[in-house]
């Protein structure tokens, strides 16, 4: 177990190194001068030169790279030209918003895909099964940004039920930041109403992400359920007089979840990719929007940081899911103990 962790950890570090190197060089091939942007209109040439030196932009590329990688070892992601602050500081400010959206979406995705799969299996081969399939399939074909706009239109503009964007109602005062996760901070502050406000703000962006992935998720869960239902122990349990609810929750579901969960890390990877789009549409103050706005003004450091951080999040989640797998699967748990 420890050996596996060490190997995976070492490998993850190597992947991060490759990703950081690749994005660093790719983003710096641009023939542009971010210092000129920072200095602004009518700035004197001396002001531009001063800024260039301040950000190390006048040094050769290779020495910039070495300095950057050296900084990374200390958790220093460089300085953002756009926000005038260390990228690490910006990440601390923006990462919780993204993580909260990602984790909430992931949970929503798991709940929804299993719920739909259970319904589909319950009425297998019938119209419910078919309808779920058709709807999830159509959902997977909707571009996430288009869906986001449609959701905004219906739930904000037409119905007025949910906010158009942002993490928290504009005019309300957010809870004191402790973890940066509003769902947790509001509870820590003991403010259930604020918790509801944060939850309401999460719903549309999360739905835009989730609906896209439901087709694959539901299909995997459905197949796993059917496989489990066909196993002999289900017949045994039935023979012992267990009701359908007990069979589903006590036996089938527990055994079916593990193999599907292991295959879910890829889905999580897609979520990370879509999150930039969703943040742009829903004005979600996370690292995606931060990096995208920085990219627009040739501010490279945040883009490289986004690549590193999102790869890291992906690696951690897939490692977590892999570790969870033997723990969740009763058969494997017995085998190891």
């Amino acid at each position: 177990m420890l050996g596996l962790l060490a190997r995976r950890g070492a490998w993850s570090l190597l992947i991060l190194f490759v990703v950081a190197t690749l994005t660093f060089f790719l983003s710096r091939v641009v023939p542009a001068d971010p210092a000129a942007f920072l200095a602004g209109q009518n700035a004197s040439p001396e002001a531009v030169a001063r800024i260039r030196a301040e950000y190390g932009l006048d040094r050769p590329l290779l020495s910039q790279y070495v300095a950057y990688m050296g900084g990374l070892l200390h958790g220093d992601f460089g300085r953002s030209i756009r926000t005038n602050r260390p990228v690490a500081e910006d990440l601390r400010a923006f990462l919780p918003a993204t993580l909260e959206l990602l984790i909430f979406s992931f949970v929503l995705y798991l709940l929804a895909s299993w719920f739909l799969a259970i319904l589909a299996v319950r009425w297998r081969g019938g119209w419910v099964d078919g309808a779920i399939r058709v709807f999830t399939m159509l959902g997977s074909g909707i571009p996430v940004f288009w869906l986001g706009m449609a959701l905004q239109f219906v739930f904000f503009y037409r119905l007025g039920w949910l906010p158009i964007g942002g993490r928290f109602p504009i005019r309300a005062i957010p809870p004191p930041p402790v973890t940066g996760f509003l769902l947790i901070d509001t509870l820590l502050a003991g403010n259930l109403h604020a918790f509801g406000q944060a939850l309401a703000a999460l719903l549309l962006p999360a739905a835009a992400i989730v609906i896209n992935l439901l087709a694959v998720g539901t299909r995997m869960s459905r197949a796993a359920l059917i496989t489990e239902y066909a196993r002999p122990y289900v017949r045994t349990a039935r023979g012992k007089g267990a009701g359908p609810g007990r069979i589903l929750y006590r036996h089938v579901l527990r055994n079916a979840i593990a193999p599907v969960l292991a295959a879910t890390s890829i889905q999580f990877g897609y979520m990370i990719s879509w999150v930039i789009l969703v943040e742009v549409i829903f004005d979600w103050p996370g690292i995606g929007l931060y990096a995208y706005q920085s990219f627009e003004v040739f501010d490279y450091a945040p883009v490289v940081a986004l690549a590193i951080v999102s790869t890291l999040v992906f690696l951690v989640i897939s490692l977590g899911l892999d570790l969870l797998y033997p723990w969740l699967d009763p058969r494997m748990r017995e085998a190891t103990s």
Binding site: A36, T83, I164, H193, F195, L199, E296
Partner: protein
Amino acid sequence: MNRYRWCIVALGPLIGLAASGATPLRAAEPSTLVWAEAAEPATIDPAKVNVNQELTVARNVYDHLTNFELEHPDHLLPALALTWKRDGTDWTFTLRHGVTFQHGQPFTAADVKATIDRDLAIGQGQSYLVSDIKQVTVVDPYTVRITTQQPDVYLAANLSRIEIMSAADIAAHPKDHGEAYFTDHANGTGPYSFVSWTRGEQIILQRNTHWWGHFPDKPFDRVIDRFVTDAATRARGLEGGAYDLANFVPRDEALRIGHLPGFHLVEGNNLWAWPAIYLNNTLAPTSNIDFRDALVKVFDYDAMTQYYQGSSVTPRGPIPDWVPGSPEKDLAPIKQDIAAAKAALDKSGVKNPVMTCSVPSGFAEFAFAGTVLQASAAQIGITVKIEQLPFVQAIDAIKSNHSNCFILGNANLSPVDATKFLAAHYTTGGYYNTAHYDNPAFDKLVAQISSVTDPQQRYDMLKRASQMIIASHSIIWAARPKTDVPVPNHIGGYRIDPAEYINVRLWELYQK
């Protein structure tokens, strides 16, 4: 169905909480105004503020020595200065008594000197408006003398754009002129004070009840300057009531929203919505003057006028007729003439021409001007490739000579001084001189204008300068529309400042 009951038991309270969290769209506290800004500022330092979203904070938190009437920009009004007069290269300002900064220090002449010295030392932001200043002298606590290199008739007007900081603050942060500190701290004498800045989300301002100026009845006590980068989201949020006012709403949306029940349109003059197409003088094929001539003549100006639905005219030159001292009425009209365009193209000798055009994204009007150029040029066999880029990338493409053309709205931040605008857009080295227009005679002429005291002589010089640019065929002035801003009926007092990007004067707004 009891197997699903646990789901309902678990999800029920969550849904209930979310429902309770879905707050009513308009707030219960009406004295808060939400202004949807198009981007997050990089800085709120008055010496560095440059673009619209940065000016929002600076203009409202700080005061200026002078002010001006929006309808008659050449009529100056007192602000921190009560009177002023020019004598050769010396301007003398007498200052208002009893003004205090939001952090408590009294305002005196030393603050004016420290501010201008700092602006000039940093050399960024709006300092170009006062770059002519040689020296600032404190005569007594309420009198300040400003000496310029050459006589400058526009200085008092241009000072209406320079935010006055506190000398004590500047002295307290000596390192690098306090650039790090002032990036996100502000202490002015103005109508609103800076409260907080949540990165990526919003800046909160609070009404300064000790302000020396006059608020209307029922002003807004709290202002949330919300960063909403997506133009369509701003339009939708304004229409749906999430924001009270929004900056840069796409024009078609603005007109439609303004005509909805509960909204009205405020119309005014402003340079920003005016798309001008800059043709690069230093990159083939637009380096050929006859080729540029062909483009100027083939452009479909009527298409632009139709797009603006009647609120636009076709410009004749660089300076709109509503700018004080504009020579526009004495210039010849510019019209589409396809036969003449063909002749010019033949004369140029350019065969199978292909050119690229970089257009800043996010502004539907600019994109449309590009579309019209593309379709017009195709009529005489010119292929125009369009690349929509974020503003900084687009301007970088043309400044680094990778693109033939660039589309830009304009801004003249001085209420009366057209030479600052001409300098930025057409003189050698000007930041927005994306046509790479290079004419020493023009540069010299523009630099002289502000030192001439006779208005008629200045008029003639401006006219000559305009004719020089027109003759170079470096610019297609596509349209000059009115600016229309949709305003909800519960807000009064909104006016469009002609010498600004489209922005907001918070201290004039009130609840209806």
